[in-house]
């Protein structure tokens, strides 16, 4: 027996919204979803008229929906934004090469310019080559750190004013949980922010227009709109820690759908008591990128790869940063600790 749309009361409902428990038909759902993203954008003042905005595009569901909705809203509400797609090619054969094909189709479908920056051109290393050297245990650290900087570099080449990414409500809630579980107070405080101001030279401001959009709705939006997206797990990524947080959150959501919004709400309203030690943001002594250490994570990881000491950026070896900066040789003992043997 079909349920009628609780908004128009005419058509057959196609989904139950996790956020509100309303039953909506396809058209009313599209409208509600887009309007909520619009409200998020307006109330947080994410963009200014005339800005050039790079959409971080992976070919996956979130960034595909983001690109589609940004284009729709830019036209519907005359944001006056110049939109373009920005992709990172990590150099993962059988994964990213396929997903980039999706991005290239999106470029045609949405008529947006596309820029792809690759790890190979930026760092001289593909993820395939990195995994060969470091194995499958800490490879996601390299990829995550390099991707963040690669997006900034691509954005600067294109002179974009802002980057927006497809992070959704589920992603943000997962990140809150992970930061709690790791005791990472500095990230815990930052991770719910919908936008970051420019933190310095070489860092482009970022925002998350889908921050309050449930993954379920993003997937159903893509499904009902028949959007073209890519959904294969990265061949190198067990990403175990996030996986656990994700499963836990999905189990909670099954019992109480508001759990996701509630975790975000908790994260947003946490305040860190005075006197808690926080890392001081500075800049990297080598490349000038933001860093709370003498060298940024990206430079340390790269130095490790280039010297055949991949453990250099894994764990805490801050004492060695001065040595690296001044190009002093490491002692044999230090070198032994940083080799890949016990990866």
């Amino acid at each position: 027996m079909p349920v009628l749309c609780s908004s128009c009361a005419e058509k057959r409902a196609v989904l139950k919204r996790p956020k509100t428990a309303h039953s909506l038909c396809k058209e009313c759902f599209f409208w509600a979803f887009e309007e909520e993203v619009h409200q998020t954008i307006v109330s947080a003042q994410l963009f200014k008229h005339g800005e050039t905005v790079g959409i971080g595009a992976s070919g996956g569901k979130d960034s595909t929906v983001l690109a589609h909705v940004m284009k729709v809203l830019n036209e519907r509400y005359n944001y006056g934004l110049k939109l373009l797609l920005l992709s990172v090619d990590e150099g993962i054969t059988g994964y990213r090469d396929d997903s980039l094909e999706t991005v290239k189709r999106n470029q045609q479908q949405y008529e947006l310019p596309l820029k792809i920056v690759s790890y190979e051109e930026l760092y001289g290393w593909t993820m395939d080559a990195i995994v060969k050297q470091v194995g499958l245990k800490n490879n996601c650290t390299f990829c995550g750190v390099f991707r963040r900087q690669a997006l900034d570099r691509g954005a600067m080449m294109l002179k974009v004013d802002k980057i927006c990414t497809g992070h959704n409500a589920d992603d943000v809630a997962e990140t809150v949980l992970m930061n709690v579980l790791r005791g990472d107070i500095a990230r815990l405080r930052r991770c719910t922010a919908i936008s970051t101001a420019s933190e310095g030279e070489g860092v482009v401001p970022r925002c998350k227009p889908l921050k309050y959009a449930y993954e379920k709705e993003i997937v159903l939006y893509a499904y009902f709109k028949k959007l073209d997206y890519f959904s294969t797990e990265c061949i190198y990524s067990p990403n175990a820690y996030r996986g656990h947080a994700r499963t836990f959150l999905k189990d909670l959501e099954a019992v109480r759908p508001s759990a996701i919004m509630d975790v975000i709400h908790s994260g947003e309203n946490l305040s860190v008591r005075e006197g808690v030690k926080m890392p001081v943001q500075g800049t990297c002594g080598r490349c000038g990128y933001i860093s709370s250490q003498a060298l940024c994570k990206s430079c340390v990881l790269l130095e490790g790869l280039n010297r055949g000491l991949p453990r250099l950026g894994i764990g805490k070896h801050h004492r060695l940063h001065e040595k690296i900066l001044s190009q002093q040789p490491l002692t044999q003992k230090e070198e032994r600790k940083l080799k890949a043997v016990d990866f």
Partner: protein, 101 residues
């Protein structure tokens, strides 16, 4: 006796990887004394179709949280979920949301 019913199953969003990377399947559910419902369909899928790692698809007697189910293009949460009685020519879609964004 309920007659055998033919239904169309579709797996997407990465869920197809558990079914030999095949997205669409036409299956016939054998006749049985009770009408087929979603709960029984999941047991049948697990026993007859799942090639690997069933825990990534079913959890307890339902689908693993994070897998969306559509019956005839509507969210199964509107259709009675596990209690929905399957009809001949029904279309059931399973979409994983657990794969990378």
């Amino acid at each position: 006796m309920a007659a055998p019913i033919a239904i169309h199953l579709e797996f997407g969003g990465g869920a197809e990887l558990l079914f030999g990377s095949v997205k669409e399947h036409h299956v016939t559910l054998p006749n049985q004394s009770e009408p087929w419902d979603m709960k029984q369909l999941l047991v049948w899928i697990r026993g007859n179709m799942l090639k690997e790692r069933p825990e990534l698809f079913v959890q307890g007697d339902t689908v693993r949280p994070g897998i969306l189910v559509l019956i005839n293009d509507a969210d199964w949460e509107l259709m009675g979920e596990l209690e929905y009685e399957l009809q001949d020519k029904d279309n059931v879609v399973f979409i994983s949301t657990l794969h990378g964004g």
